[in-house]
Symmetry: C2
Amino acid sequence: MSDQPTVERNADTAPGSAAFSPLYQQIKALLLQGLDRGEWKPGEAIPSELELAARFQVSQGTVRKAIDELAAENLLLRRQGKGTFVATHHEAKVRFRFLRLTPDDAHSAVTGSRILDCRRMRAPADIAALLELRTGDTVVNVRRLLSFDESPTILDDIWLPGASFKGLTVELLAGNRSPLYALFESEFGVSMVRADEKIRAVAASETQAELLEIPVGHPLLHVERVSFTYGDRPMEVRRGTYLTERFHYRNSLN
Amino acid sequence: MSDQPTVERNADTAPGSAAFSPLYQQIKALLLQGLDRGEWKPGEAIPSELELAARFQVSQGTVRKAIDELAAENLLLRRQGKGTFVATHHEAKVRFRFLRLTPDDAHSAVTGSRILDCRRMRAPADIAALLELRTGDTVVNVRRLLSFDESPTILDDIWLPGASFKGLTVELLAGNRSPLYALFESEFGVSMVRADEKIRAVAASETQAELLEIPVGHPLLHVERVSFTYGDRPMEVRRGTYLTERFHYRNSLN
DNA sequence: CAGTGGTCTAGACCACGTG
DNA sequence: ACGTGGTCTAGACCACTGC
């Protein structure tokens, strides 16, 4: 506990001065840094509010407000009586935030994953741009086919920055039974925290048609997702193609 | 100001008793009732925190927490130095929460709306179920075609409970220049607050193809939306069909 | 300058989980 | 019985808006 971070109390900021940051925002930033550094791992508890208040030399209420915001953003999870925990993809709750395809009738689907491909290569220009890399930087490309109740439903084309995902192989993926993001967390220390998606309807190409066992030209839902870790750093581009005859993409507008 | 609502202070609730509601949740419920009753209209300011605290006989902090939650749900809008306002669809910000189709290149699209149909009829079973009406209850059905830059892009099939939308006519719709939800607010006192959507890819039918000027079978994004007012009461079913060649549906996973 | 929401504090007490 | 987060209060002061 050697760190006594510098929190600026804005005592002298001129009224109407440009930069002004509330104390709790600074605490929030410090907590974010801790999460990013891996000081507290996914699933673990962070120190109690009182402990953090003591460490940062602020009141419990200020720490509370910082944690409130991180909890609202789903980075932390409060559990009364137990503590505050780092969110992890090893929980159904988190998982369904990212898995939006849902069966039309709420039956429990048996799911299967088949890895089609996993190779390292130089990033194409569009992928590089989305991942904020340089064209030609190494990336990992994974292609997989997900089935529900034995029928192929999702075709994923996934791109990851090579530097953060050394050692990602077909074998590792094939032996994996949890969601991909859970594996990224456990094996590579990469926590996905947020994602942006662009959705369109497209006609099935020949390869897509063959893999999904549908005619060429069949309408498919196409979802391009960019996922981010702490600090809004893009860490994955995922192009998903969904068959939506018996499934739909659910969304809530608030 | 005759109302001194009964807030239960839970002083005597046995430890571990079933029902227990924090004070601020009760205040929140009271504010929600006020919004629902139309005590404060969209765009108007609600009373100040101190005033509400006095009215409800609680501290400012408790009122604040109630308002915080309503603001987080986008029912209220805080503006420092000015007050707290009832959210309204007459603002670009609110509008884009519900309009998710976005041009691929961020150009400013000229938009046009053509009302195809507007008639009152007996509710089909599926619509009735979604609107929580009885089959055969009166509903209003509106069909319209939205164009961007002169090219038809969105085909909407809209269903509204007849009881709440008396006097909705083609003429009224044709003369309208604002978003539909803004019109619902001003003309019928119905505020849409939240919506659920189910999205799929479908092949264009003959009618759809003709109106959207595309070949039959062309892939289209199909969005079924159910919109809710205060208290989670469904007030609209909207089946939208989108052309996604130059537009996409944007979404954020948090 | 007055009034609004925003921040920060300190302390009391409640509800929950675990030992 | 203890420690955790959750609620509620009261008061001081700050930042923004508009008269």
